[in-house]
């Protein structure tokens, strides 16, 4: 069996729930694959679809968006906005030829450390199977 391919996944974690959930995974010393890099944002609603596309363009092989469970958003309804944007973005991204498993949205609460680890491992293995996206090399980006 060949070595799993080196992939990098950028994760946008909302400050109140999912980032805290990731912290909890750390506190519990839950081990997970090191291919997911967290960026903290105030709310999953901060996620501009353009930023997701930029991530892929800059060389991310996968993008994970994580927010509070529906109804629990610290900013009341931000996660619903994130969901709507994500649904449309997913359609667009897959039409562009980026595989389904490379973009993912998860609801992770501050108490779900093990869930964060599960999602990281699951998404990493799926993206590893697909291999690096290499979008940067295949599509010329106008400066």
């Amino acid at each position: 069996m060949s070595e799993p391919q080196k992939v990098r996944i950028v994760a946008f974690l909302c400050r109140w729930c999912s980032y805290a959930g990731a912290d909890l995974a750390g506190v519990n010393r839950t081990k997970y694959l090191p291919n997911v890099f967290p960026i903290k944002v105030p709310c999953s609603a901060r996620m501009d679809p353009e930023l997701v596309l930029k991530a892929f363009a800059e060389g991310a092989d996968g993008v994970l968006l994580a927010g509070c469970h529906p109804g629990d958003c610290h900013y009341l309804r931000g996660n619903y906005k994130a969901l709507r944007r994500y649904n449309l973005l997913k359609k667009f991204v897959t039409q562009m030829g980026i595989e389904n498993d490379r973009l993912r949205l998860e609801w992770i609460s501050a108490s779900e450390g093990s869930r964060y680890a599960e999602v990281v491992n699951d998404m990493t293995s799926k993206v590893q199977k697909l291999g690096p996206l290499k979008w940067r090399r295949e599509i010329a980006i106008e400066a």
């Binding site: 506190v27 090191p34 960026i39 105030p42 709310c43 609603a45 901060r46 930029k54 991310a60 906005k81």
Partner: protein, 651 residues
């Protein structure tokens, strides 16, 4: 930019997995980095001094610490750089402990990941601008919504600290459910006796303005400056003239079920809610009043020596300005008819716990006598715990107080009805407060029969002569592992607590969320149980979740303290993460206006462009992500900064 990077070993928590030397070397090679060091414990005083000295020595204008999670020590390091004269928001933190060393198996991978995250933090910091926490002025009055024990307590605490309180209560009298109880567990204090002095104090306290028989219509504004519109419902009695003598009630021919006694008896159409009511004033119930319904009678006018009757009274609206709000709107008891297997409403001698409280009250519908509907004393009584609670069919949660209430009722039965047999049917016995377990033991020693098993149903169909005329509970005694029939004369259903009927509307009016069970959402279930995510709005008592009186009082004091801390400081500090509009890019399309859950975006009537209402903005960024022109950005989480972080990760 001159950035200082500090890599913490955290003892061996980080250095045991991550090669901190390599990482520090790498950091020093990054653009804008003036100095990079590693140290065993960055959060310690020598560690912090390293940073402070470097700031002075190298003239640093940005600092990145790679260590534990920002949730742990971000404030520590922000305070440290502030002491050295740097804006605290120029400090950024990379978590290489919770997110790297503690979760990564392979040391090489961990080192690599740490490098990526530090690079991300450095790139982000390079684009950071100094930010100032926002201060908004605070009005010096507090609004307390709800006049039960929690509301009363909160109001008194604030008033006694010298601040003005508006206490709004929708019923004609304050007191809430506690006024309806007979005795309180575990001390068996008379509920009214310990409550009424507080009620009287509310009326007397010069700092408390009691808005009785009133409801909040809507609010606008923000913490420090709320504008609240309150509507006073018409009593049809002039409160300034009414003396509460009660003669009108004795003469009034109209009748209606008495709400205070849960419909167990009737009251008159003009009535004083209960003898200890505050304010002690009469009120007319339109729906049963002969004058309002049939245009006859008016006997009350004839007999009122104070000339206080005013059939033409109208609702009165007023707007209050307050700086903080405490919601203490209480609970409603579970409707026992929703547990049809127990026959509430079908069988005459099945009553609820609250009805039993009124029954044992000396001023209640039976003058304190425990009797069946036919007036005879019961020889045997069954008390069923958890009605409506711990049940997938109704409410999944535990209502916390019903076990103690049920034990109290068992005790009262034993005390008032000599020779009575009492059964308590429970699932798990919850007696977790101070003196509660001791009370439980006492009740057991008094001879109450504790059966561990939730009754399946109650039937009045006898299988033999011994069951004739009785209510038979069919229940499994799980300790004896047998199903048994228990014939009794009376059944008391210990109903659970639910969010009140208007909780939904109140939540919407005050921008509060509710948890799945319908109670108000606290800011953090462990560490901030009386705050809400909405700045300036606090919650106390049963509206936050089922709880007993001591907890309600404690929460009320806590909420009052929170409200007071806003008042006393005179200002409120908000995070500096503000949305900002670049007017040159804004096309006035208005898409952002609906995206804000706090109504913090408005259209400027003169320019037609969008404008941020700074005091309301909570910095979530929902509008930023939605702007088609990229005219909106978020201080502290600018688009360029997020992109820079990405570049750092993907380098």
């Amino acid at each position: 930019m001159k950035i200082g990077v500090y890599v913490c070993h955290c003892g061996t928590n980080i250095s045991g997995v991550v090669d901190v030397q390599k990482v520090t070397e790498y950091a020093s090679s990054l653009p804008n980095v003036a100095v990079a060091r590693d140290y065993k414990y960055m959060c310690s005083e020598p560690g912090q001094n390293l940073i402070i000295e470097d700031i002075k020595k190298f003239g640093l204008d940005g600092v990145v610490v790679a260590a534990c999670s920002p949730t742990m020590h971000e404030p520590t390091f922000q305070a440290a750089v502030f002491r050295a004269g740097m804006n605290p928001y120029m400090f950024q933190m990379a978590s290489i402990r919770e997110h790297v060393s503690w979760v990564t198996q392979d040391p090489n991978e961990a080192t690599e990941k740490a490098k990526r995250l530090i690079e991300a933090a450095v790139f982000r910091d390079a684009l950071q601008a100094p930010l100032e926490k926002r201060r908004i002025p605070v009005g010096q009055a507090v609004l307390v919504v709800g006049g039960g024990i929690a509301g009363i307590e909160a109001a008194l605490k604030v008033a006694n600290a010298g601040k003005k309180v508006y206490l709004v209560e929708k019923s004609p009298s304050i007191g809430g459910h506690m006024a309806q109880f007979d005795k309180t567990f575990p001390t068996l204090d008379c509920s009214q006796c310990i409550l009424t002095p507080k009620m009287v104090e509310v009326a007397r306290n010069p700092n408390v303005e009691l808005l009785d028989y009133s409801e909040v219509k809507n609010i606008s504004g923000h913490v420090g400056d709320f504008k609240v519109t309150v509507v006073r419902k018409p009593r049809y009695v002039d409160s300034t003239k009414c003396t509460g003598c009660g003669i009108c009630s004795t003469k009034c021919p109209g009748k209606a079920p008495d709400e205070f006694n849960l419909g167990m008896n009737k009251r008159k159409s003009i009535y004083v809610p209960f003898p200890q009511a505050v304010p002690l004033k009469a009120v007319i119930d339109r729906d049963s009043c002969l004058y309002f319904q049939k245009n006859i009678c008016k006997v009350c006018i004839k007999f009122c020596s104070a000339n206080a009757i005013d059939f033409d009274q109208k609702p009165v609206e007023r707007t209050l300005g307050v700086g903080a709000i405490v919601l203490a709107t209480g609970f409603k008891p579970f409707d026992a008819a929703r547990a049809p297997e127990y026959g509430y409403g079908r069988f005459t001698n099945v009553i609820t716990s609250l009805e039993f409280e009124r029954m044992t009250s000396a001023s209640g519908p039976t003058a304190g006598k425990i009797v069946l509907k036919d007036g005879k004393e019961p020889k045997s009584v069954a008390i069923i715990h958890c009605v409506g609670s711990r049940n997938v069919n109704n409410n999944v949660y535990c209502s916390k107080i019903c076990c103690m209430q049920s034990l109290k009722h068992a005790h009262l039965l034993k005390e008032h009805v000599p020779g009575v047999t009492v059964y308590n049917f429970f699932i798990d016995l919850r007696a977790a407060g101070k003196g509660y377990e001791e009370f439980y033991r006492r009740v057991m020693e008094e001879g109450t029969i504790m059966v561990r098993g939730r009754p399946a149903y109650i039937t009045d169909v006898p299988v033999d002569a011994s069951e004739k005329g009785k209510l038979v509970l069919v229940a499994e005694d799980t300790v004896l592992s047998s199903v048994r029939r228990y014939p009794v004369d009376m059944v008391i259903l210990s109903v659970g607590l639910e969010a009140s009927d208007d909780a939904k509307d109140i939540a919407r009016t005050f921008t509060c969320s509710r948890t799945a069970d319908g109670f108000f959402l606290e800011k953090h279930p462990k560490l901030a149980p009386v705050a809400t995510p909405t700045a300036g709005v606090f919650i106390a008592g049963a509206c936050q979740g089922p709880k007993d009186i001591p907890e309600s009082v404690a929460q009320a004091a806590g909420a009052a303290a929170e409200a007071m801390s806003i008042m006393v400081k005179g200002y409120f500090e908000l995070d500096p993460y503000l949305a900002r509009i670049n007017e040159e890019l804004c096309s006035g399309c208005g898409v952002c206006l609906n995206l804000c859950p706090y109504n913090a975006l408005e259209r400027d009537p003169q320019t037609g462009l969008s404008k941020v209402v700074e005091e309301l903005c909570q910095g979530c960024g929902a509008c930023v992500a939605g702007c088609p022109s990229n005219a909106l950005d978020l201080d502290g989480f600018k688009t360029k900064q997020v992109e820079a972080e990405m570049e750092g990760i993907l380098a």
